[in-house]
Symmetry: C2
Subunit: 327 residues, 2 copies
């Protein structure tokens, strides 16, 4: 984990040292997206995310169109994690010689189609060539009501609510590496669901104190929230939303589905910190909106104490997500 | 040229077919930057540009810090070409294993320093790893007064005003390829000047009808303006701003400095379309602001007729810029 986050910290320090006036920057480096104030009523939410061939996918795993669809998904997920509405996208492609223009157009088509489903539109971008790997990048701009963006924050006692399921996409990656090209696990990797319906029904809801999307793994992303808010957490192992296919996948490999769900990234589930007495009501609101939501634990007033509670016994857990620099 | 622009056209058609509501999109795909309306008083101007190792630079040509500086320059130039003020940047790095974290931090440091000089700040970004080439990408958000962004447009009769000089950066690339690491030409490649002072003194000036930055080559970028406005152009060969070093460079290689200036990209000079009777005054305003400006020709009411006038004789010229897909 360390190197990517260490680099981001170093960058944040350099930005502070540059002492440029940061008027308009509500949230800078270090959250799911930046929040910018350019208007009286609305804040802008801006994020960028990248898919790199050989790193986030291999050729043969995804059609060109599916690459574009997933590129949109990972960016839409960041906008959802801010409680915002996606609006405008820039798509940037760095194309190796073996990628034909028709494939590049299909990547764009997949991104355009997925964005359109959520009311967002491609307004620009860039195309370059390379002797190296295919790199697909999107910058996505969303809007939310002024001051209402969800940060990576929680309050002591808040319920940890997970929207979506855990572990399926990572299991799909294992399947793909072994040559399997079909099935629900592969589908979970190919088409993760950005939780924009959650953002839509809960935006501005005062019971939601913060949010983060699970890109690196639940353990790692929940610990980010704890660190940012000087809290600890108790996670209830039995409550983790693990699909039956994932349990079967783990059983066949002698793996613990709990550990898998805790440390697997790539699903883009959403973690909300919710006022404890309102967690049931928030889950009901989400279920009515078609979003699968469950309380998996709570944030505690014990900074640095991260516990997994299983069969009545608690043990410490560590972040176990995927480092985008080292992996 | 064809393939990159053909791809961009295909993408623009797909965006239109997606029929997502484009409320707020003042300028979409195809200009130096997109223009978005999210506020009553100001428009947002958003651009993205990429530097790819092995394509836009080779290792040894630029220090890590200089890569970041140039990354900021090419994006700042797009904001200048819209007559806007840069504000917020996202920096995305795709790092090969041989690039250490310290180098990545230096790339960011170069970008942060150059942005700070123009009052802009890094608010986020992304870091990923690759087995391929180093890819550095920036998305830059600027602001301008509502409805006042400069488009790639001109009116018949407008003077063509070039701000900055032509051909030095491309000559610098030739020098670098031959192992030369110093001198004014190499410096022109390493540290192009984004023409933000031009944007600052002329923003909202009704005599300026449009602008484009010269990233692909004057011939190619002026023809873009002509095509977008259904115009032709007469360019005066003798008026092209070619530095003495570039003339010497061309003389030593038996090349025409005119052709070199016409077709070389990478300088990020600015082309303004200016009301003909006001061109002298606009050049004086620019000179007072320290921006070297000169009238090099005019846009004509003859769509598709692109002429270079030299020694009293006119001949047709073709776009000769750099295709980022083919080169």
């Amino acid at each position: 984990m360390t190197s990517e986050f260490a680099l981001i910290d170093a960058i944040a320090r350099r930005v502070r040292r540059a002492r440029v006036h940061t008027r308009g920057v509500v949230v800078g480096i270090g959250d799911d997206a930046a929040v910018l104030r350019v208007s009286v009523h609305e804040d802008l939410v801006v994020t960028t995310d990248t898919l790199v061939e050989g790193r986030h996918f291999e050729r043969g795993w995804l059609s060109s169109r599916a690459i574009g669809w997933r590129l949109a998904a990972v960016n839409l997920s960041d906008i959802a994690a801010m409680g915002a509405t996606p609006r405008f996208a820039l798509v940037s492609l760095v194309l190796p010689r073996h990628v034909r223009a028709a494939s590049a157009e299909q990547i764009e088509a997949g991104a355009i189609a997925h964005l359109a489903r959520h009311g967002a539109v491609v307004v620009g971008g860039n195309v370059a060539s390379t002797r190296g790997a295919l790199v697909c990048e999107m910058t996505l701009v969303g809007v939310c009501r002024r001051g209402r963006a969800w940060r990576r924050r929680a309050r002591a006692g808040d319920a940890i609510v997970v929207v979506g399921a855990l572990g399926a996409a990572a299991a799909g990656v294992v399947r793909l590496k072994r040559g399997v090209r079909r099935g629900s696990l592969v589908g979970a990797y190919r088409r993760p669901t950005p939780r924009l319906a959650t953002a839509a029904v809960l935006a501005g809801n005062p019971d939601v104190h913060g949010a983060v999307d699970v890109s690196d793994g639940l353990s790692s992303d929940v610990i980010h929230v704890c660190e940012a808010s000087r809290l600890g957490c108790d996670v209830n192992a039995e409550a983790l939303p693990v699909a039956r296919d994932v349990r079967r996948f783990c059983a066949a490999r002698g793996r613990s589905p709990i550990e898998w769900a805790l440390h697997a990234g790539e699903d883009y589930a959403l973690v909300l910190s919710v006022a404890p007495k309102r967690a049931g009501e928030v889950c009901r609101i989400l279920e009515r909106a078609g979003e699968p939501a469950v309380v998996v634990g709570r944030f505690t007033a014990r900074p640095g104490r991260y516990r997994l509670v299983e069969g009545g016994r608690a043990r410490r857990f560590e972040p176990g997500g995927w480092d985008h620099l080292k992996a």
